[in-house]
């Protein structure tokens, strides 16, 4: 009884404001969960369902595997799933299937169940973020940013992608690095790579941070490689398929190279140039176990990806832990971040012709959300789609560049 009293006092009296933000964050997420989905979620669900029901080795990624195990456990709660997901061609889901799923009587229940694990991972993400706070004020700032984290709300709870898993595991790795637990930080970093290839972008900075000499570099490489291949072996045993082969390392390279200049033989990737310069700069300036310097260079490496490379709209959530945690260090990144979000969502709405914005909410009301294009305002009517994309992509890149500049300036000052 005393224990319950203690927790109630802790939550409702001592941390009242924090509780309000967390409850608000959960409420917003719960409101989004059943009423939205992107075609990608339906496609993953279809693959998961094939494995759960017919043991077809259809799972493509480790994150999908985790969700398939969850589906297997709670399958009786799902309803109409095979009928709602019905598709004749394996792996091809288009707008007619989206409509069919959205109009199904049980689509809201199914979406709620499908996305519920994301909420649990996201609460874990909040818990890890709060560990970075030095006092109550910082805890409240972090919880407010977590609650209103538009990138997470969009990518995970509206779009329905599993990006929260690598983001959570990577943030755990940062926390361990901050607490100087090198081995476990590298192990979690390896798990994060298994969940999403993009994390590999950060590997050189991790290796520079943790390695004092060539010998320790080889040792650290081994620490990263071993869990990665062990997970691969384990998933092959469970799902009957090599999931790491399906991670799509080739698409990472393709995306990285798309944002380049020149033609054919003379084509160069701007991302690779920026990335190599950032790693070289870090190597030169490295201070032993300066976590925030390490964090600044991780942020710069990732920001260079989002400036120069091609990416899908739900990938931008990878910036979440960087933006939230860096805000505690320097509040000046707030306004460039707000601008980045505005330009980014206008860009996505126009460039995907609403497929990745309003159409996501089709399960709430197909008629309305399949017609409305949120940002395609009459104001822009005299501009063609191509011009609009150029204008807003440029504005988006400028705002991301501004965030990068603020972080770079902090590094120079230190």
């Amino acid at each position: 009884m005393n224990q319950i009293k203690y927790y109630l006092k802790f939550i409702f009296i001592e941390n009242r404001v924090l509780t309000v933000w967390v409850a608000l964050g959960i409420l917003i997420r719960l409101l989004l969960i059943p009423f939205s989905t992107h075609l990608d979620l339906l496609l993953s669900t279809y693959r998961e369902y094939l494995w759960v029901q017919e043991e077809v080795p259809s799972i493509g990624l480790i994150a999908e595997g985790i969700l398939a195990l969850y589906m297997k456990l709670f399958l009786p709660l799902f309803k109409h799933l095979p009928e709602a997901l019905q598709t004749d061609q394996y792996g091809i889901i288009g707008l007619p299937e989206h409509l069919k799923f959205a109009l199904d009587s049980f689509s809201l229940r199914n979406l709620f169940l499908l996305k519920l694990p994301f909420l649990i991972f996201d609460l874990g993400f909040l818990w890890v973020l709060l560990k970075f706070a030095r006092d109550k004020k910082e805890q409240i700032i972090i919880s407010a940013f977590w609650a209103l984290n538009i990138l997470m709300l969009y990518s995970v709870f509206a779009f329905g992608r599993y990006e929260i898993m690598p983001v959570l595991v990577l943030t755990v790795s940062f926390l361990l690095a901050k607490n100087k637990k090198m081995f476990w930080s590298l192990v979690f970093f390896s798990f994060a790579i298994s969940l999403k290839t993009y994390v590999v972008i950060l590997a050189p900075i991790y290796l520079v941070y943790f390695s004092a000499d060539f010998r320790s570099l080889i040792k650290n490489l081994m620490i990263i490689a071993l869990p990665f291949f062990s997970i691969n072996y384990l998933t092959e045993l469970i799902f009957g398929k090599n999931l790491i082969a399906g991670i799509g390392g080739s698409s990472l390279m393709e995306f990285a190279n798309r944002g380049g200049v020149g033609e054919e033989f003379n084509r160069i990737s701007l991302f690779i140039i920026a990335y190599v310069l950032i790693i070289f700069f870090y190597f030169q300036r490295k201070r032993s176990f300066d976590f925030w310097q390490f964090f600044r260079f991780l942020s710069l490496a990732l920001l260079s990806y989002f400036i120069f490379a091609y990416f899908h709209s739900h990938y931008l959530v990878w910036l979440s832990p960087f933006l939230i945690l860096y805000f505690i260090k320097n509040k000046k990144i707030l306004w460039p971040t707000v601008l980045m979000l505005i330009f980014f969502f206008i860009l996505v709405d126009i460039s995907t012709n609403r497929v990745a914005t309003s159409l996501i909410f089709a399960p709430a009301d197909w008629r309305f959300f399949s017609q409305i294009q949120i940002f395609r305002l009459q104001f822009f009517y005299n501009l063609t789609t191509g011009n609009l994309i150029t204008v807003f992509h440029t504005l988006y890149v400028l705002s991301v560049g501004l965030i990068g500049y603020i972080i770079y300036r902090d590094e120079i000052k230190n």
């Binding site: 009242r16 229940r109 709620f112 009301d365 009459q378």
Partner: protein
């Protein structure tokens, strides 16, 4: 322990709830695009009837005609002798209306967008539009027809023409979303309970503050 009311938060919460009430009841979305006849939306009134009524609200101030897309209806082409009568009625809030009709012979319908021009409409601004389709064949194949303005161009690169501005009130939208949720009664019950409880916790925590007596 002392229960205290935080008046500042009380006012802010009341203002947010009141703004939400105003938004839901009075806000209207104006948006641009085509409208599609969904399955079951254009139903015959009687068993022997082959006509259906379909209406939508829109601002036709910049539009002088409609375009119907027959792309997704290959079934229609199999019976070229059948006829479709399309009647359009613009109704203004004061009750005045204008009617236009066009008989479409399926054999003359080309694949893709079919354009129907109407003379400049005096009362088309803020009109409610009723489109009636009658057919000599089963009306069911009409599901999926897309209605756009006459300048619609399916190529988004070139589609810079003025289009129909549709009207949708948040109230109607909310009602439809709730209706959609209630299709699965059991889930709706649990989900609503969860949302209301969480909302109540937030409001209570914002308004009431428990302080330790010193």
């Amino acid at each position: 322990m002392k229960l205290k009311i935080n008046y500042k938060n009380l006012i802010v919460t009341a203002l947010i709830i009141f703004s939400g009430f105003l938004f839901v009841n009075f806000y209207r979305f104006d948006f641009i695009g085509g409208t599609v006849i969904e399955p079951g939306e254009c139903q015959p009134l009687t068993k022997d009837d082959n006509s259906c009524n379909f209406s939508f609200e829109a601002d036709f101030s910049k539009v002088s005609g409609l375009m119907v897309n027959f792309d997704k209806k290959p079934i229609l082409y199999r019976s070229p002798e059948s006829k479709i009568l399309m009647e359009i009625e613009y109704q203004k809030a004061d009750g005045r209306s204008e009617k236009f009709s066009e008989e479409l012979f399926v054999s003359k319908i080309k694949k893709g967008n079919n354009r129907f021009d109407f003379s400049p409409l005096e009362i088309k601004i803020d009109s409610k539009v009723r489109v009636k389709f009658s057919a000599t064949t089963n009306i069911e194949p009409l599901d999926g027809l897309v209605i756009n303005n006459q300048d619609y161009n399916p190529d988004p690169e070139r589609n810079t023409a003025e289009r129909i501005i549709y009207r949708e009130t948040v109230k109607d939208l909310t009602a439809r979303i709730i209706e959609n949720l209630n299709r699965d009664q059991r889930f709706a019950g649990y989900y609503s309970a969860l949302i209301y409880t969480l909302s109540a916790v937030i409001v209570i925590l914002l308004i009431f503050q428990i302080e330790n007596r010193k």
